[in-house]
Symmetry: C2
Subunit: 206 residues, 2 copies
């Protein structure tokens, strides 16, 4: 039914498991392409240019901003992060569904430019579970956990801007639900204009 | 995630196989309740009151109109057809997803009253297949088939008013798609207001 891919923006609380979900989704189904962000931050050990991120200098990044080569970008803790337009548009035109993992401001900027983008919000089943997962990492102080929970409370204000909300309780169930939601979106009339037009023409001709 | 059921309105071309689809959907999954229409037409041999239709006299039907006991109704070929409100609302409050099979005017009347209703349009893969299915019944004259195709052309004008369009090529595939679309709808923020509110309250408390 479709020709062009769907642009999927995934946001959610830090600790809700977005990264694992996206990885599993791409592994399990072959229609997805995971977008790679550009950043000016220094690569961490083990990170590879073009795999985790495209690592750019500030000058390179700012040239891309000026060239409108980024769909959205943000300055976070003194480093730029952004979504390269060329990769996204090429993959969409090939009929692949492109997934971006991004926070709410970026998500809304994307929706402005791609009105058919599907905005998904991932959450834990409840707040205690979020706290448990953030603590469970064992690497953070109580102060950092508190700060993340406050940030989550802030992020929760924007949930209604999303098209769908998905609860990540069991990973496999959640991956199936995400895939189901994206598959359903293919049936929107706006994504089937050619089919509808042809049907109309042919029915008039009958 | 949900408490109240989803109201599902199914329309589509005569010959697209709506009836068979609905029957199979209700057989295969246990969350659906099929709404039964009220009508003033005379029962056909084998039809039972409360199974195919609620058979009413014109007086009874008009009293129901006056009492706002019908969500929508239409006068078609001299007989009334309508959707009883009590059954639909009872089933929704029990958390069942209620399916109505209805044409576009009725579908839009329902959307006015139930803004969360899900409007689905069923079509054949193309116009030739629709003609084939209408002819295949073998019971209709060429004139009747032409008339139905013209009606289909008219119905096709309203497809964009529907939330989703489903192609009935293979029955089982189509039933799964319908179920997938309805399952995805449960993830809309508007259907999860309680969950979102609780999450917010609890995050603020953390």
């Amino acid at each position: 039914m479709r020709s062009e891919g769907i642009l999927i923006v995934v946001s959610g609380f830090s600790g809700a498991g977005k990264g694992t979900l996206m990885k599993r989704l791409v592994e399990k189904y072959d229609n997805y392409a995971l977008s790679i962000s550009a950043t000016t931050r220094v690569p961490r050990p083990g990170e590879e240019n073009g795999r985790e991120y495209f690592f750019l200098s500030r000058e390179q990044f700012e040239k891309r901003i000026a060239d409108h080569a980024l769909i959205e970008y943000a300055d976070y803790c003194g480093n730029y992060y952004g979504t390269p337009r060329d990769y996204v548009e090429r993959e969409l035109s090939l009929g692949h569904d492109v997934i971006l993992e991004i926070e709410i401001q970026g998500a809304l900027k994307i929706k402005e430019q791609y009105k058919d983008a599907l905005l998904l919000f991932v959450t834990t089943p409840n707040a205690e579970e979020l706290r448990r997962r953030l603590s469970g990492r064992g690497t953070e102080t109580e102060e950092v956990i508190k700060k993340r929970l406050r940030r989550a409370a802030k992020e929760a204000e924007g949930i209604e801007k999303y098209d769908y909300i998905v609860i990540n309780d069991d990973l496999e169930t959640c991956v199936k639900e995400l895939h189901g939601i994206i598959s359903a979106a293919r049936h929107a009339p706006g994504r089937n204009e050619e089919f509808i037009e042809k049907m109309r023409r042919d029915l008039e001709g009958e």
